[in-house]
Structure formats: C-alpha cells, structure tokens
Amino acid sequence: MAVTLSVNGRRRTVAAAPETPLLYVLRNDFELNAAKFGCGMAQCGACTVLVDGKAVRSCVTPALAVVDTKITTLEGLGSATSLHPLQKAFIEEQAAQCGYCIAGMLMSAKALLDETPHPSEADIRQALAGNLCRCGTHNRIVRAIQRAAKEMSP
C-alpha cells in the first residue's frame, strides 16, 4: 500500500495505507514538524495545512483524498533563514507562548490573506475561530496577522 503526495512542491511516495490521516504522513513520512496532533476530531485546528490553497484539518483528511492536490505546510511558507512575512510578523509580535497552536494559526492566516489581502480585525478573528489557543495569545496573533497583511499588500 502506497500513496503519492505532493507536499511543499516535493512529490513522494510513502508506504502508508490510503486511509491514513494526512497528519501522520506529513509528520512521520515527510518528517515535517509544524502540523500538530491536537484532537484528531477537527475541533482545535492545530493540524491545519493548505490543500490547493484551502485550510484543511489534516487529522481527519485521509491521504487518499489529497493525492492529486498541492499540499502546503508551514515549512512550505518559509524557513528560519528565509521567513515568510507571516512568520516574521509572529516573531516581531512575539505571538506565542507555548506555540503548539501556532502552526495551525499561521496556516489559517495564510489561507485568509490569500483570499482577503486586507482583512478587518473581525475577518481575522472569524477566520481563526476554529483554531484554539489555550495560553491566551489570541490578541498577539491578531496583531501579527495585521502586521503581515500590511507588509504583504501595503
């Protein structure tokens, strides 16, 4: 049993059962850390990645369902040496405490800004309402997204 997926522009065939949730393929086969296991029920958003530009919950998405798509994880946005404006803004606003939810927040934000380059604060909060944060970093996250939006489309 094998599935071929395209993740962050890289195509790979992995030896996983087709119904395997995308999350485990990303974390364990592609060795990508960003998407996190939070609930396994699409309730918290920690596992959010982009599939053809749309934010999806990778914990409930079977690998088979995303075979002919372009999958993007946080690692696909930028890296420590070449930060995406969203990543840069999260560092500038120090928008994390434990940070476990942050990758999911960033991916939901990316999906939002791709569709709505100049979101209102209410737009941002609405777009991220399905991403839970427990440390209480919400307002910093909103500020970081506002900052990134300004930088990306002045």
């Binding site: 364990n28 939070g38 029920m41 309730q43 120090q94 994390a96 919400h138 307002n139 910093r140």
Partner: protein, 741 residues
C-alpha cells in the same frame, strides 16, 4: 511548627520524603556547628558548586545550566538575560541548557511562578562571582590592578590596550568551587539586557516548523505508542484479546500489566488502530466511585471528612460590627486542557532508561519513575523537551511512565507515546472543586471589622517526587499496583487550597480556616494558581458586596482597607487607566468591575478592571475589554511579563465563563472540546496591560498573578451590569439567565 521546620524552604519541604527527614534531623545540628554552611540565594542553596551552573568555554561562549524548564512562559530567555548582564557577555554567545538529570542542577519543579526567584537568583549570584574570579585571574595575568579593569562582551580590558578574553582565562578548575554569594550582582542601572524586551529564544523554531517539542523527536528505529485507559477511575480489567491486536499490521508490542494496556507499532496510525482494537475487546469491571455532580457536589464536599487548620487568626481591638454579610462561593473541577495531548519518548538500553519529557521537574519525575519501575534512580535519565502549554501538573509525567512501560517490550527500540484527546481530558489531574463560605462585619463607619473565610477543597498538589506514594497514573493500575501519595496541603505562606485565602486587606479580627479533604475520588493536582483563583474570586466579590453595603465605591473601599503601598499603586493605576468613575452604575447590560490580589501574598501585585456585556435574553456574557496593571518587582523582560499577564487574563476569562469538568457517578464525561468549550478568537477580551517597574525590588514571578484578579473583575462587572451577583463558577448563560429572574 518548630523553629527548625520553619527554616526549611518550601521547595525543600516539597522534596521527597527522605530529604524531608534529613531536613528535620540535621537542621539543629548543622546550626550548632561553627562552620555552618552559609545560606545562599535561590537554588544555589541546594546546588552550591559554581560549575554546576556555569561553564566558560575556551571559544568565548558561555554555557549556563538551569534546572527550570521552558513551558511557554519564556523563562529560558529571561535567565539568559540575567547571565548576559552579570557576566557581561552578549546574549548571542550564551547557550542555555535546561532540565536534564545528567547535566543540570536539581531545582525541583518549574512551578508556582518561582523560577525567576530560585534559578534567576542562583544564576545572578553565580555569574557575578564567576565574573569576579575571571577579573582576579586577569589582574594577575595582565599585571594590572583589579580596579583598573573593565569588561566588554567577555573581553577584560586593562589600561594601555592590554586585554584578555574569558575564553583565554578559563580553566577546568576555575569554577570548581563552592559559591559564596559574596560578589554583589550589578545594580539595575548597569543592566544592558535585564529590563529589555529581548525576543524569546524558542519562538523562531516554533513559527518555522523546527523540532521544538518532544512531539517532534525522531530517534533511529523509533516506534509509536498509545495506551488504552480504563473507562473509569476504579475500573479493573477483566479480559482482553491481546492476540488479535498483536496480529494487526505494524504492531510490535502489546503490553498488559494488571489493568494497564499499551501498544507499540511501526507507524503512528497503526498504534492508534491497535489501541482501538484493544479497547474494543477489553472487558472491565467498573465501580461507581465519583462524587455527586452539579450543585450537590458542593454540599457533598462540605460533609466529607476533613483535616482542618486555622491558617490565620487575628483579634485586634476594634469597634463592633453593626452589619454582617454572608455568602458562599463555588468553583467546579476544571481542566488544564492543553491543546496538545501529553507525549513522551522512552528508550531502554542495557537496563538503563532514558526518557524525554515535558515534565515540570526532571529530577522529581526521575525519582517517581524509579519508584514505579522499582529500579535505582541512577539508572534513569530524564531530559526535558518542550510540550504543549503547561498550566500546572498535567499528563506530562504520567505519559512518561506509559512510554517507559511500552518501551520495555520493544527490545531497545525507542517509543514515542502521545495521549489521545480523550486520554488527556479524562485522566489529567484537575484543579480541585472548591466551596468557600465568607462572613464579614462592618462597623458604623462602614469598615470591615470582622472577617471569616472558610474553605473546603481537595489538595492542590499531587505531583511526582513529593509524596509517600507513587504519583504516576499507570502505577496505580499495574499488577503490583502502587498507591498514590496521601493528600497534603502546601503550607502557608504560599498555601495550597488556602493560597490567597488570607486577605491582604487589613481587617482587625479575622479567621481563615482550611478544610483539606484527603479523599480524592476525582483525580486532582496543581492547576495554575492552585486555590488562589477561587479564593480571590470569593474575597474580591465579597469586597464589592461589602462596599455596596457600606455605600462605598469599590476602588475607594479597597484602598481604605490596604496598607501596602504597592497594592494601592496597582489599584490606583488600573482605575486611572480604565477611567474608573466612582460608584458608576451598570445599565442593565454593560458594567465594569475591579479585582485585585498579590499572588500568594508573596509575588506579583495585579489589579484588573473588566467590562462585561450581558445579553439578558440568552444569558450570554461577553468580556470585550480588560485593563491590567502588574507590579512584579524588578522587570527582567517587559514583553514577556506583559504576555504572561495578557494570557492569564484571557485564560481566566475562559475558566470563568465556560469551564467545568463533568462526570456521573462512575465516569468522567468530558472527552473532547465539544464537552469542554474554551474561549475562541472571536470571544476573548482585548487586554490592555501596564507594568510598574520596581528596580529596587527583587524580581518575582508573574505567570499565575492575573487569574484571580481577572475572575473577580468579571464577577464584579457582571453584578455591576445587572444588579445580580453570581457566586458559582462558571458564569454559564443558564446561570446568568436564572439570576435575572
């Protein structure tokens, strides 16, 4: 309590039983000797060698060691700032090593907002002393008087352009000596890094998908593990089909030991499938062991056998009361509910165990694992790796034992074991439910003259490494099962259930009674603030009730009962910041309220003013905005401190409006976020934080300082808005609606 006992610090008191015994028997002897060891600041007292804290490397870098760990609060960055300033070395050349039983000092548990005081003080004095030693060595080598030397980023400069670097001067022997704490740390005027909002060291990795968490570890040959927990706390395994599970794809081990069940598999989804199959085939014998729920829970708590203690009593002369008020407050069991379920990696090699864990205390966990696995602690290494948010004693330690038990069956292959969402919600130790009765008397001038605070609560600490039992979940279910430790209360002045039960207000006659309920049918332990959240909720709600009875404004009423200038300052500052108008009435829908506390009566002062917006038809409450002012003494990292206060207010708002664990007589019913909603991005208040810096005061922790004031401010705002007070947490729409009629 004898004088000898009183000298024992809380951290030592919490040490394992053996340490406690030594403390009791040796303390008087030691004090009688001429060469009694001097008392050293913070954790230096217990970890006295300088090279345990610090290594100056020949390449000019510095490695600092701390037993405290990063749990999302930014402590490692703050400690690096302290090292940089005291040693005069740029931050970029400081490597921090934290929480590793093979490398770092034993600083117990990272909890109670004590890291800055304990580890920060130790590093501050150790670095100041190391700097002095380096300067003396340089003076000898360069032939220059000590007073003529200065340091710039690890380079010692003498007049005439002569210089020596720390890297050139350092030797292996240089810091192999006991600290004296005689070198004076720098005054705050000389700080370059302390007091600055230095960016956190851990954030770049976390926003780029770096290997930031124990969850991200990958070791060669690593397997994935899952556990199958019983359906209820007292359930015992009757039968299970291990063979069918073993035959599933990828399954390497099925572990059954008494009522403990676990699996290890080649792939993560295979481990999950195996655990599911195992659960399906398992037959359990369940026992109804849980207390009544809802309102009945609190009457039940009141009737339980208790260990009673008067924790504060005062009988100063004062006028008689002319008016007496009474009220009862409650708080349900509440969950830590971290976003990421607990996780650990364990590996056995030649009888020795290595565990990677997001525990708050690597040494206490090692001691507890040694008990649970009946092996010497010296054969166990525990290395800290970050986890998802830590708000007290969660599943971190328990999952470490789970991983160790599963890895014992995998012939040396490491196992990464993560709990499922349901495991976390049903098995993490909750913050204890609490019942609080208050009674107070006002004199003819409207001043409080009598005050009575009585509380009923389970313990607020069942952490590993501290008790007469084994405080790791799986240990209770093994064939050779071990018992959990017996309940005890953390003594005052910090307190456990009675944390912040002694009001900071000056009341001439007061009595505070703690009823510790030793039976723990629902598993409980430390949840951020311990008893302080509920005690401050009660006291500060009651202060508003008393102010109203006295016809006074809540801010003025608080100020007149306080003598501590720092307490008054945060209240005055938040009132001014929020534009507080005395005796401003709510309009039936919107209102404002204030709450104040000095955390533990020992740490940060925080005052909060919150605004609420009540939908009277549905009972739904919004907290659109909150103001907070904090005084945590000398501020190490202003942005880090603000982040903690902001987060504390938001988390407390969520506890206050939404959160309660539910259970029936047998099972915990809270399994997912659908059962335990927390505040979302669209629902959190904006938080306006102001900080008061006190460079002349010692730095104190802040991570738990805002939660009490925040709940109180919301409770008072709700009463201010609607004229109806709610004394039972959480403020659900049903309760708010019921209170309107």
């Amino acid at each position: 309590m004898s004088a000898a006992n009183r000298g024992i610090t809380r951290r030592r008191f919490l040490g394992q039983t053996a340490a406690l015994t030594v403390g009791f028997t040796l303390a008087p002897l030691v004090r009688g000797l001429a060469q009694a060891p001097s008392v050293l600041p913070g954790s230096l007292q217990k970890n006295r060698m300088l090279d345990g804290w610090l290594r100056i490397n020949p390449d000019g870098t510095v490695t600092a060691f701390t037993g405290k760990v990063e749990i999302g609060q930014g402590i490692v960055t703050a400690l690096a700032q302290i090292v940089a300033d005291e040693l005069e070395v740029d931050l970029g050349r400081i490597e921090m090593v934290s929480g590793d039983t093979s490398r770092t000092p034993d600083e117990g548990v990272t909890s109670g907002s004590r890291s800055i005081e304990e580890s920060g003080s130790a590093l501050r004095f150790a670095c100041a002393e190391a700097r002095g030693i380096l300067l003396e060595t340089a003076a000898a080598k360069l032939g220059a008087p000590l007073s003529s030397l200065r340091v710039e980023d690890g380079v010692i400069l003498a007049p005439g352009g002569v210089r020596a670097t720390y890297g050139e001067l350092t030797t292996d022997a240089m810091l192999k000596r006991e600290a004296t704490a005689k070198a004076k740390p720098k005054p705050s005027s000389a700080h370059r890094f302390i007091g600055k909002s230095v960016p956190r060291r851990d954030i770049p990795g976390k926003v780029t998908g770096g290997a930031a968490y124990v969850h991200d570890m990958r070791l060669p040959g690593m397997l994935f593990g899952r556990v199958v927990r019983p359906p209820s706390p007292r359930a015992r395994l009757v039968s299970v089909d291990e063979r069918a599970t073993r035959a599933l794809p990828g399954v390497v081990a099925v572990v059954r030991d008494g009522s403990f069940l676990g699996v290890a598999a080649e792939r993560e989804e295979q481990a999950i499938a195996a655990a599911r199959a195992l659960r399906k085939s398992a037959k359990w014998q369940e026992t109804a062991s849980l207390p009544p729920s809802g309102r009945k829970l609190f009457e039940h708590l009141r009737r339980q056998p208790a260990q009673d203690a008067v924790v504060s009593e005062k009988n100063d002369a004062a006028a008689s009361a002319v008016k007496t008020l009474e009220a009862t407050f409650t708080r349900p069991f509440q969950a830590h509910a971290a976003i990421g379920p607990s996780c650990a990696v364990a590996q056995w090699q030649e009888g020795k165990l290595h565990v990677w864990s997001h525990t708050q205390g690597v040494f206490p966990l090692r001691r507890e694992l040694a008990k649970a696995l009946t092996m010497p602690a010296s054969d166990i290494t525990v290395t800290h790796r970050e986890g998802s948010g830590c708000y007290g004693h969660n599943g971190a330690d328990d999952v470490a034992l789970d991983a160790a038990l599963c890895a014992r069956a995998t012939r040396g292959r490491p196992v990464k074991l993560q709990w499922m969402r349901e495991d976390e919600f049903r098995w993490e130790p909750y913050g204890s439910a609490m019942l609080i009765d208050l009674r107070a008397g006002l004199d003819a001038q409207g001043n409080v003259v009598d005050y009575h605070h009585e509380l009923w609560s389970h313990t607020h600490s069942t952490r590993p490494g501290e008790s007469d039992g084994t405080n790791l979940l799986a240990a209770w279910y093994l064939r050779d099962s071990q018992r959990p430790g017996s309940a005890r209360n953390i003594p005052q002045p910090a307190g456990g259930g009675d944390r912040n039960a002694i009001p900071l207000y000056v009341f001439p006659r007061q009595r505070v009674i703690n009823h510790l309920l030793p039976e723990m049918p629902v598993r409980v332990s430390a949840l951020r603030t311990l008893g302080a959240y509920a005690n401050v909720f009660a006291i500060e709600s009651f202060m508003d009730e008393l102010a109203a009875a006295a016809g006074a404004d809540p801010v003025e009423f608080r100020l007149r009962h306080l003598s501590d200038p720092r307490a008054k300052a945060v209240i005055e500052a938040v009132a001014s910041k929020a534009g507080w108008r005395p005796k401003q009435a709510g309009d039936g829908r919107r209102g404002r309220g204030i709450g104040f506390a000095k955390y533990k009566n020992l740490a940060a002062y925080v005052a909060v003013i919150a605004e609420v917006d009540v939908d009277r038809a549905t009972g739904a409450i919004k907290v659109p905005r909150a103001f907070a002012v904090a005084d945590a003494g000398l501020i190490i990292n202003p942005d880090g401190l603000a982040n903690q206060i902001e987060g504390g207010v938001i988390q407390s708002t969520s506890w206050t409006l939404r959160e309660a664990v539910s259970h029936d007589s047998t099972r915990v019913l809270t399994r997912s976020w659908a059962d335990y909603p927390i505040l979302r991005m669209t629902e959190v208040p904006s938080v306006d934080v102001s900080l008061i810096n006190r460079p002349e005061e010692k730095p104190v922790g802040s991570g738990e300082s805002a939660q009490g004031p925040a709940v109180a401010a919301i409770a008072n705002a709700l009463a201010n808005a609607t004229g109806r007070r709610i004394r039972d947490l959480p403020f659900t729409p049903e309760r708010v609606k019921a209170a309107q009629t």
